[in-house]
Structure formats: structure tokens, C-alpha cells
């Protein structure tokens, strides 16, 4: 039996509003809320809701025989929660059927895997937690942003406990080999690698409505006919695509929904074909060989490389500037800053700065809200500059708090040091002027040397009083401590 694996990618970035340099330091809301809301609402109406309903119908009809898998970025989930909660409910219904596998990815749909193992791992964990809390699933399969993959990335994913990863069946890594087998990571053979069959996937995702295409119109019979022609030894047919293919990239008028409504029946009735999720495939099939990917690949553009996001001067500067604060962000507990940190990491921002489309790739133009990559860059850098200012303020504030605490400690030691310099005779005179509370504070907040000194001069009876007092009081706040310290200091000064 050969498995047909349907995997859909769902992502929506937080698009930035026009943010001018003179807003720096004043305006800390970076997003075009109207645009983001209206896009999510539009795509929900055209794609997410009708397609989810269609999948639910199919699952009802075919039960366990029909399965699909999704990855939904954390940023998309956030926007569903914010703008279209009914979409989230609809995905939960799909999750409840048990026929849908949800994959893990980076929370922010980010390029963090290319920059820092720590940030990469943090975001994957964050996404796993989000999937668990919304859909009740423990993720087993990983797919990186834009199917970005290399041997090294795969090895880290294996270390994080994933059993399977998805990536592109790029021609230049496969050579004569077929994408229709299960492979393993070249460094860690425990990680299975599923490769996208880009020809079949793009027949649906890109060519479906192209009337100039020799195979137009694409019918389910024709499509399953192609599947039928594959070598029976082949294991899997991986159809990976953007979920927005349905209804958004290919409009409802193209017949894409009818195609998807009828396809499962043809596949289920075929003697040699069935539907499986990535996790099932990973369990069922023996991998045939390791796949070597020394240089990073992705599913984008003709080149299947990273040049859509990184490589030109402006993309690289923006990327470096973004991650220059990774360390500072680690120590940042401010929820507002954390939110922005993820939203600014979305790969889309770098995609908008791509200058390749000057010569080719109108796909880029279709997706960008900017009129030029330069405008995209300037806008992003302005926002990032403000973000850095805020983070700088936060860090400075925290540091000054810490240094205040240190100063308090310093002053406290000063009091103790002063006391240690007294002779026992003088010290006992001084102690007479103190209340039980003050003595208690002094005894319990000081070091052993001073404690010994205090014990010597006050006698056992008084010590018991101190002990009793201490037991009857709550632990002291920082302000109370410094109040006591100040009182004692004044008394020392007076005594001297």
C-alpha cells in the first residue's frame, strides 16, 4: 500500500503598519490592525471555514480512512483568538475527530533555526505548549518555517525528541532519487525525513486553475491516474501545500473545493492507496536511506534555497539587528516586549525585503503589502529601532533596580562593619539604646561574627526575647529592613 499524506500549512503574520522614524520612542504599537483583521477575516470566510467544514464532512463520511495533517503557526493562532474565534473552534472540532495530526513548528514562523539553537528550541517548545493547550495533542512531527531543512537542523530536531520532519523534495538534493520514500537524517538516523512531492503538490497548489497548462482542467480521475502510475515499491506521496490554496490562491470558482471533495473517495477506493498522517507513516515504513542535505533548503521559489529571506544586504542587516538582542530578550519578562519579539521574527518581514522579484517571481509581489523592498526594510528597521529602545529602557530599569538592591546591601554591610569596629564595652552601651525589634533585626540579618558579639553583650534572657519576637513576626519586607537599618545607623551616629 502507498500512503497519500495531506499536509496543510496555516500561517498569517502580523503585518506592520506604516511606522515613521519620528514615531521612534513615542509609538509602541507596530501593527496594521485593520489590515491584519480584514485579511484573517477574508481568508477565514474564503478558505478556513469552508475548507474545514469540507474536511469535517469527509471525516464523517469516511471515518478512519481519511486523514489530514496541519501545522498552524503561533502567530496565526493568536490572530484567530483575537479576530476570528470561530476559526479556532472549527480547528478544535477537526482535532476532536482524532483523524488530524497537528505538527510542531516555530511559534513565530521564524528563521530562528538559522540563527540560534536556543531560540529555535524555545520557540518550538512554546508552539508545542500552544498546540497542547488548544488541541490536546502532543506533537511528534516537526516542520520548520517554509520547510527549511539541513542535516544540522534535522539533528537538532531529533535531539528535541521529534521522530519525523517534513521538508522539500528538492531536485538538487534528490538527484535521480524519488521523493516517494521515507528517508532518514544524515546525522541522526532516528529522525525520519518526509519529502514533498513538489510536482504533484504544485499541480494542485499552483497549476490547478492555469488554463494555459496542458493538463488543465485537472480532474480527480486524472490525478489518481497519475498516482496509479507510480512504482508500487514507492511508499508515500507527500502532498504538502499552503492551506490558503483552497479558496484564497485558487478561488472557489476554479472548482478546487469540488476537486478536494471528490479526491478522497477515488483514493480510498483504489486498491493500492490510502491516507496516512506523517506520524503513522513514520511508524509504518522502513526508511530506505539517509538523505544528505549539507546546504540548507526550503520550499520557496525555483532555487529552493534561503534567498527569498536572506542574502541581500538589507535582509542581512535586518536579520542581524533583530537577533542582536536575543540575549537581552532572554532575561526579559515584560509580556508586551515578548509578544513583539515573536511577531517581529516572522519570516514574512524578510520576504518583503527580497529584491529577487525585480527580475522574476511575481509570487513575491503578490504577497507583499509594500510597494518596494526598500520601503519594507525602512519600515521594519524603524519598528525594530523602537523595539530596541524599549528593550533598552526595560533592561536599564531592571539593572538600576538590581543596583539599588546592591546599594542597600552595601549600606547594610556598612552598618554591620561600623558595629564590628566597636569594643565590647562600647557596644553594650550602644545596645541599651535599642528596642527588641531592632535587636532582632540586627541579630538575624547580620553575619556570624556580629551575632557572637551581640550574644556576648546582651545575655541569655534578652536573647530569648529576641528569639520570641522573631518567631512572632512575619519575614520583613525590603522597605522594613532598610527602615531598621536607617534607625540603627542614626543611633550609632548619635552615640558617636
Amino acid at each position: 500500500m502507498q500512503s497519500v499524506c495531506l499536509y496543510f500549512q496555516v500561517h498569517q503574520p502580523y503585518r506592520l503598519k506604516k511606522y515613521r522614524f519620528f514615531n521612534l520612542g513615542n509609538d509602541h504599537y507596530y501593527y496594521d490592525e485593520y489590515l491584519n483583521k480584514s485579511i484573517v477575516e477574508r481568508v477565514a470566510a474564503k478558505c478556513y471555514i469552508p475548507m474545514n467544514n469540507l474536511l469535517l464532512d469527509l471525516i464523517k463520511k469516511y471515518g478512519k480512512e481519511f486523514k489530514v495533517s496541519f501545522s498552524i503557526s503561533g502567530l496565526a493562532l493568536e490572530q484567530f483568538q483575537e479576530y476570528t474565534p470561530h476559526v479556532l473552534e472549527s480547528f478544535k472540532k477537526l482535532a476532536d475527530t482524532g483523524n488530524v495530526e497537528f505538527l510542531a513548528e516555530t511559534y513565530a514562523h521564524s528563521l530562528s533555526g538559522l540563527h540560534s539553537k536556543e531560540e529555535f528550541a524555545r520557540q518550538i517548545q512554546l508552539h508545542q505548549e500552544k498546540i497542547k493547550s488548544l488541541f490536546g495533542q502532543n506533537t511528534q512531527t516537526f516542520r520548520n518555517t517554509e520547510l527549511i531543512y539541513s542535516d544540522e537542523i534535522g539533528a537538532q530536531i531529533a535531539d528535541l525528541g521529534f521522530k519525523t520532519i517534513l521538508t522539500e523534495g528538492a531536485k538538487h538534493i534528490l538527484g535521480w532519487k524519488s521523493p516517494n520514500f521515507v528517508y532518514t537524517n544524515a546525522i541522526n538516523p532516528r529522525l525520519k525525513v518526509l519529502l514533498r512531492n513538489f510536482r504533484l503538490s504544485d499541480d494542485i497548489a499552483f497549476r490547478f486553475s492555469n488554463q494555459a497548462w496542458s493538463e488543465w482542467p485537472l480532474t480527480t480521475d486524472k490525478f489518481v491516474g497519475w498516482l496509479d502510475k507510480f512504482d508500487k515499491k514507492e511508499q508515500v506521496l507527500n502532498l504538502f501545500m499552503d492551506y490558503e490554496t483552497f479558496g484564497e490562491h485558487q478561488w472557489v470558482e476554479t472548482g478546487i473545493f469540488e476537486f478536494m471533495r471528490n479526491l478522497p473517495e477515488k483514493i480510498i477506493n483504489h486498491p493500492n492507496l490510502k491516507f496516512s498522517t506523517p506520524a503513522e507513516i513514520s511508524k509504518e515504513y522502513q526508511p530506505i536511506a539517509p538523505i544528505h542535505v549539507p546546504n540548507t533548503i526550503s520550499w520557496a521559489d525555483e532555487e529552493r534555497d534561503l534567498t527569498a529571506w536572506l542574502g541581500n544586504e538589507i535582509q542581512d542587516e535586518a536579520f542581524d539587528k533583530l537577533y542582536s538582542v536575543e540575549k537581552a530578550m532572554n532575561g526579559c519578562t515584560d509580556p508586551g516586549l515578548q509578544k513583539d519579539w515573536y511577531r517581529l521574527q516572522a519570516s514574512d518581514h524578510f520576504y518583503y525585503m527580497c529584491t529577487k522579484w525585480f527580475s522574476d517571481g511575481d509570487v513575491h509581489e503578490y504577497f507583499t503589502p509594500y510597494s518596494s523592498p526598500y520601503e519594507a526594510f525602512i519600515n521594519y528597521m524603524n519598528v525594530l529601532s523602537d523595539f530596541h529602545i524599549r528593550l533598552g529602557n526595560f533592561t536599564a530599569k531592571r539593572e538600576s533596580e538590581e543596583s539599588n538592591n546592591r546599594n542597600m546591601l552595601q549600606q547594610q554591610e556598612d552598618v554591620f562593619e561600623m558595629l564590628q569596629k566597636f569594643t565590647n564595652v562600647k557596644f553594650s552601651e550602644l545596645v541599651k539604646a535599642w528596642s527588641v525589634e531592632e535587636l532582632s533585626f540586627l541579630y538575624y540579618e547580620s553575619n556570624q561574627a556580629l551575632r557572637d558579639k551581640i550574644l556576648k553583650v546582651i545575655g541569655k534572657k534578652n536573647f530569648k526575647q529576641i528569639q520570641q519576637y522573631r518567631e512572632s513576626t512575619q519575614s520583613l519586607s525590603g522597605r522594613e529592613l532598610s527602615n531598621y537599618k536607617e534607625k540603627i545607623r542614626q543611633k550609632i551616629v548619635v552615640f558617636n
Partner: protein
């Protein structure tokens, strides 16, 4: 193929972009084996004659009684022209114009005597009179020389082109480098200039515009049939290697405007953008190089905004001073309200200066490595300048790709398109 070409100026005697463009074009045409007779009023004798044979209009004797010219003279409405529409003229030239006026009075007498007469060769108060006389010279030349086609640059030469066509029966191509709408704005159109432009285009067999922006204006406002109008974008001559170095004397970054200080060039938007930037970043200086009728109002505005200590007026720059200014600049801005083409940004890019240009310029149609903004979008302009000054990679990228892009905008390519226009016109004539 031989072309009788009418211009108004030729290097090194240039007051505007027209001379530079017609020079580049003639050089490009030569590479495609097109011969030319280039007529300019008052050749000084030191023009670069490698490219063309320059016929000084002043050298052509005009016989007032020659029949064709007589007819043309009769048809011509003689126009006096007010001083408010002197194109391409700076206040410094006032004195010179005054001289010219005195000249022309004398020359009129010569004309009546049927002798050669001299042109001032500059745009001046007596512009219309010169246009008319140039037309007569045009007819005279057309009857004495042999050529296949006539090519007239800008409205100043259109009457000459029409006259030459009437005398010779050869087809006429007129070249719109600018329109009255660009120069004056919609509300201040000089109807006489407009009339000449329109007449030239109506009489012509083909109209060449320097951009689609200009093409649209020609079709919309001058009522010229679209199929008759073709865009050939201007190009730029390869850079002369500058062998001087300029020492930066200020530590601040420098942002430059270079052009006439007139309505058309939008200098006031540059001033407003400067204010927005200086409010946020004091480490910038703004330079406004040029002269024009808005000079005083701009100075007043700069003072009013209290940015005079960071905003500098240099007056009109030419030759090496322009190159030096570019060497000192970090960003060049061209906020033109209406710019048929706009050569200066290309010169800036050639000197490794990133540019911000208005979308209302013809050059925006051909340039990729430039930030394009609407001229009225002061905030967008300021943001673009700020970005170029603060985010290093952007300027680097523009410099790297910009030089290459400009090097590929060759007159040779533009000239080939012009030659193809000639060929089509001639083929049509034969039918």
C-alpha cells in the same frame, strides 16, 4: 540616413537638461550610422563637434524676400513675452538678458536689411522673437541642405521644424523634453507656449516623449492621438573620471537637493522634510544647490522653521562644483512636482550617492535602485532619507547596484529607438 536636427543649446553652453540630452542622443545616433545637421542658434565655436556638424543659425543668411519664408512670416503670429515665464533662467542672468534685448533691437534692423543676424543663444526676455526668427532660419537651412528627416527638440525649435517641413516636404519628428504643464503647473499655463507645443505636435509625423509621464500629458492635455506618440527614455553619458578628491569638512551626514528653485522642482517639500529629520536627528546637514524664483521664500521658510544652522544654500552650481557636491553628499533628493525625465539623480547615482526621487518623474519609470515617493509625501520623503542615513546596508546596496544600473542606461540604446522611429516615419511616407 541624414537628419536635420534643431536644438537650442549644445555642450558646453548649457542652461538645462535639453542640451545634455540632445548631445547624448546625437552621439548615440552616430553609432547607428545616422548623419546629422544640428542647428543651434549662436554656436560659440568651442562646442564638441565630433558628434555632429553644427550649423550656427547666425551663419545662415536670411533673404527676407525668399517666397517660402515670406509666407511663413505672414502666417506667424509675432508674440511678445512677459518675463514671468523665462524657462531655465537664473536671476544671475538678468544682466545678460538686458544686454540681449539691446542686441535684438539692433538685429531687427539687420533683418530688415535682409542680412545675416545673430542669435543670443540664451533663453531671455525676447524669447518669442527669437523663436520666430529661428523658424525663418530653419526654412532657409532646409532649402539649402540635403536630408531625409527633420527632428526638433522642444517647443523653442518647433516653429523652425515646421518651417523646414513646409519648405522641404520632409517628415518631421518633434521631441518633447518638457511640457508647459511641467514648467508652469496647471494653473499658470502660458497659452502661447502651449499653442506652439501643440502646433508642433499636430504638424509632426511623430512625437517622441522622454517618459510615459510626459506621453500621458501630451495625449491628455494637448489632444495628440496616442498612436502618434512614443516614449524613448533618456539615458546618460558615461562618467568622466573625476581626478579630484574632496575633503569632508563637516562631521554630519549631508543630504542634497540640486536643481532650479522653481515650482516644478518641489524644493519646498525638501525643506519640510529637513525639518522633520532635524527634529529627531541633529547630525545631518541639508544643502540646497540652485537658484530660481522661489529662492527668497525658501530662505524665509528655513528661518521660520529655525533650521538655518543646518540648512545651507549654495546658489547655482555647475561643472566640477556639481561633482564635488555629489562627493560630499550621503543622499540626493529630487522631489519634483512634475519632471518629464530628470537626469540629475542618474548623475548622483553615478557618483555613488543613493537617491530619493518623486514618483512624478520620468526617471522613476526606469530606475529600480532608488526610493520613490510622491512629491507631496513629506513624511515618506523624510522617512526614506532617515532610512538611508541610519540603516547602513540600504545605502550600500543602492551604491553597489545603482552604479551598475546607471552604466546600463546608454544613449546608444535610446538612439536606436529614435532611429527606429525615423525608419517607421520614412516607411510610412513612402507608402
Amino acid at each position: 540616413m541624414k537628419v536635420l536636427m534643431f536644438g537650442w543649446e549644445f555642450p558646453p553652453h548649457i542652461t538645462g537638461g535639453l542640451g545634455t540630452a540632445s548631445y547624448g542622443l546625437t552621439k548615440g545616433l552616430l553609432k547607428h550610422d545616422v548623419e546629422m545637421i544640428f542647428v543651434v542658434p549662436k554656436a560659440y565655436g568651442d562646442e564638441d563637434q565630433r558628434a555632429v556638424r553644427i550649423v550656427d543659425a547666425s551663419d545662415i543668411p536670411v533673404n527676407y524676400k525668399q517666397k517660402n519664408i515670406q509666407e511663413f512670416w505672414n502666417k506667424l503670429t509675432y508674440l511678445e513675452i512677459g518675463s514671468n515665464i523665462r524657462p531655465y533662467i537664473d536671476p544671475e542672468d538678468f544682466a545678460q538678458i538686458h544686454e540681449d534685448v539691446k542686441h535684438s533691437i539692433k538685429e531687427k534692423e539687420h533683418l530688415i536689411l535682409g542680412e545675416k543676424y545673430s542669435f543670443s543663444g540664451k533663453y531671455g526676455n525676447n524669447l518669442m522673437e527669437e523663436v520666430a526668427r529661428y523658424a525663418m532660419v530653419g526654412a532657409s537651412i532646409a532649402s539649402q541642405y540635403d536630408f531625409d528627416i527633420i527632428h526638433a527638440h522642444d517647443w523653442l525649435t518647433y516653429m523652425a521644424g515646421i518651417a523646414a517641413k513646409e519648405v522641404s516636404g520632409k517628415p518631421l519628428v518633434v521631441h518633447m523634453h518638457a511640457t508647459e504643464y511641467d514648467r508652469a503647473g496647471e494653473d499658470n499655463i502660458n497659452t502661447e507656449v502651449f499653442g506652439i507645443e501643440q502646433k508642433g505636435m499636430k504638424e509632426a509625423d511623430r512625437v517622441i516623449t522622454v517618459s510615459n509621464l510626459t506621453r500621458d500629458i501630451v495625449i491628455k492635455y494637448y489632444d495628440i492621438p496616442a498612436e502618434k506618440v512614443q516614449t524613448v527614455h533618456n539615458a546618460i553619458e558615461p562618467a568622466n573620471k573625476t581626478n579630484f578628491e574632496v575633503q569632508r569638512s563637516v562631521k554630519e551626514k549631508v543630504v542634497t537637493f540640486l536643481g532650479r528653485l522653481t515650482f516644478q522642482k518641489g524644493p519646498e517639500y525638501f525643506v519640510e522634510a529637513a525639518k522633520l529629520i532635524l527634529d529627531k536627528d541633529e547630525n545631518v546637514r541639508f544643502v540646497m544647490a540652485g537658484n530660481g524664483d522661489m529662492f527668497e521664500s525658501l530662505i524665509k521658510r528655513v528661518a521660520e522653521l529655525k533650521i538655518a544652522s543646518k540648512f545651507h544654500f549654495t546658489g547655482f552650481l555647475k561643472g566640477d562644483d556639481v561633482d564635488k557636491m555629489f562627493l560630499l553628499s550621503d543622499v540626493f533628493v529630487m522631489p519634483s512636482v512634475s519632471e518629464p525625465f530628470g537626469l540629475v539623480p542618474l548623475e548622483a547615482m553615478r557618483s555613488n550617492v543613493p537617491v530619493v526621487i518623486s514618483k512624478q518623474s520620468g526617471v522613476a519609470e526606469v530606475l529600480k535602485n532608488a526610493i520613490k515617493i510622491d512629491f507631496w509625501d513629506v513624511e515618506g520623503m523624510a522617512d526614506a532619507i532617515y532610512g538611508l542615513l541610519h540603516y547602513e546596508s540600504l545605502a550600500k546596496m543602492f551604491i553597489k547596484n545603482g552604479v551598475e544600473e546607471v552604466d546600463n542606461l546608454k544613449w546608444e540604446h535610446a538612439a536606436l529607438q529614435v532611429k527606429e522611429v525615423y525608419q517607421r516615419v520614412l516607411a510610412l511616407k513612402e507608402k
